[in-house]
Amino acid sequence: MAFDQLIAAGTVAKVVAAWVGNVAGGSGYGFRRAYEQGVPRRIVMEDHSNFTVGLALKAAAMGLPYLPTFTGIGGDIVRGHPRIRPVDDPFGGPSLLAVAAVKPDVAIIHVQRADREGNAHLWGNLGLTVEAAFAARRTIVTCEEIVPEEVIRSDPNRTVIPGFLTTAVVEEPGGALPSSVQGYWRRDFEPFLRYHQISRTPDGFQAWLREWVLDLPDRQAYLQHMGDATERLRVRDRRLAAAANFAP
């Protein structure tokens, strides 16, 4: 949905992605208008599969120009792709594809907690978060809580982003809403559905943009505009990870 909103707002020149849509309804209308009609502006689309995006970020995270893969062979995604080329297996096996690195200028990662140095604990859904943080030139960590360094150090295996990769750390509870954060926030499905419906027309999208972006001067106003959502979505149950002893 965030992809679609940025595209519909005319802020995007190029999309590198495996899937652009809305979990509520499949297609993203803003993306479709930009792609099909060039409205509000034409975008360049670099189509991927999930794994080729994952490998492109992983290649950058590993400091490599590319990673080989067998995925996509025989399909159209990889045909004439600017970032994917056939390569031989130097050991004589079947041919592969090479996926070139994607090195983002900035990665913005939301985690449960981080210390002031940007050492970040993340749990639950990982996807490509870690690869993105390693691959990016700059990484901004937003978090539910900035915690004392002892909290992070109590569980170094939970630190998915070491602080020296973090450019800035921002304490912003609920910063991933309406998406979920394990142990902190449930997904709010209604905004996905509402955005899906209203963004059907350019006028609808503009109304959404005014209501949720342009007319809200700051984060505080945004949170107020969400009404009871923050109360309604906050996770109050506790299902704690089993104890892990790090005593030496």
Partner: protein, 249 residues
């Protein structure tokens, strides 16, 4: 008493039957997710489910989920790794069967979820997601489709998820489950296996934009049992995915 059920409930049952006990399954959302849960609850208690975001479950989520990253899909999972980790297992050949949906299909089982001009003007679809990867790398794939003439095309505009092609390393489309029937794709052409109760061969032919073979006296898809329906309705209580109008799109 014969339970009434929707087409999509029948498709869920058919999807579940494609999973054998002990298999490693690349699940996905919507109907296959329900089919996986159903298979676990019935004939395949030892199946394991992989989700492309990194989650590995050996039982369905306790609560309804909209996306595979939703907290109920993580709570109680046996493992929660990264996308590249489960894709690596897929690329290793450790996944027996994967499910994929598509907007368009051709007789070789090629699926298009990227873009089409089939209806005259260009329509952009959301893209591959993990579909292209599952199609390339799973031991076999089960395809799930709306059975409409504009979607069943002699040649798809764009091959997002490759079907059968010369030189394929492994896998390929095995079964196609549609709103009208169940079809075998292993021979590189579409052969009807069962038609859903009440569906005629003629209906299927008219809804298919290419040649397909339907034997005379083809059996009907086995209807869901009361237990199967009970399972599905507990997992999707509002009919979000299995109602007559699939709210999930």
């Amino acid at each position: 008493m014969i339970a009434t059920y929707t087409r999509r409930e029948l498709m869920v049952v058919a999807a579940g039957r494609e999973i054998r006990d002990g298999e490693v399954v690349f699940v996905g959302m919507r109907l296959p997710l329900l089919g996986f849960g159903l298979a676990k609850a019935t004939h395949a208690p030892n199946a394991v489910g992989l989700f492309e975001n990194g989650v590995i479950r050996d039982r369905p989520a306790e609560a309804f989920i909209y996306t595979m990253g939703d907290p109920p899909n993580i709570a109680g999972a046996v493992a929660c790794l990264g996308l590249n980790d489960v894709m690596s297992l897929l690329q290793q050949g450790r996944v027996d069967v994967g499910f994929i949906g598509g907007a368009e299909i051709d007789p070789l089982g090629n699926l298009n979820t990227t873009r089409t001009s089939g209806s005259g003007s260009l329509v952009r679809l959301p893209g591959s997601g993990g579909g292209g990867d599952i199609a390339s790398l799973a031991g076999r794939t089960v395809l799930i489709m709306e059975h409409e003439p504009r979607r069943f095309r002699e040649r798809v505009d764009y091959v997002t998820s490759p079907g059968h092609f010369p030189g394929r390393r492994r896998g390929g489309p095995a079964t196609l489950i549609t709103t009208l029937g169940v079809f075998d794709l292993t021979g590189g052409r579409v052969q009807a296996v069962t038609l859903h109760p009440g569906v005629t061969p003629e209906q299927v032919r008219q809804a298919t934009g290419f040649e397909l073979s339907i034997d005379e006296g083809i059996p009907a898809t086995m209807a869901p049992s009361a237990d199967e329906l009970a399972y599905i309705r507990k997992a999707d209580p509002d009919g979000f995915w299995t109602g007559d109008t699939m709210k999930g799109g």
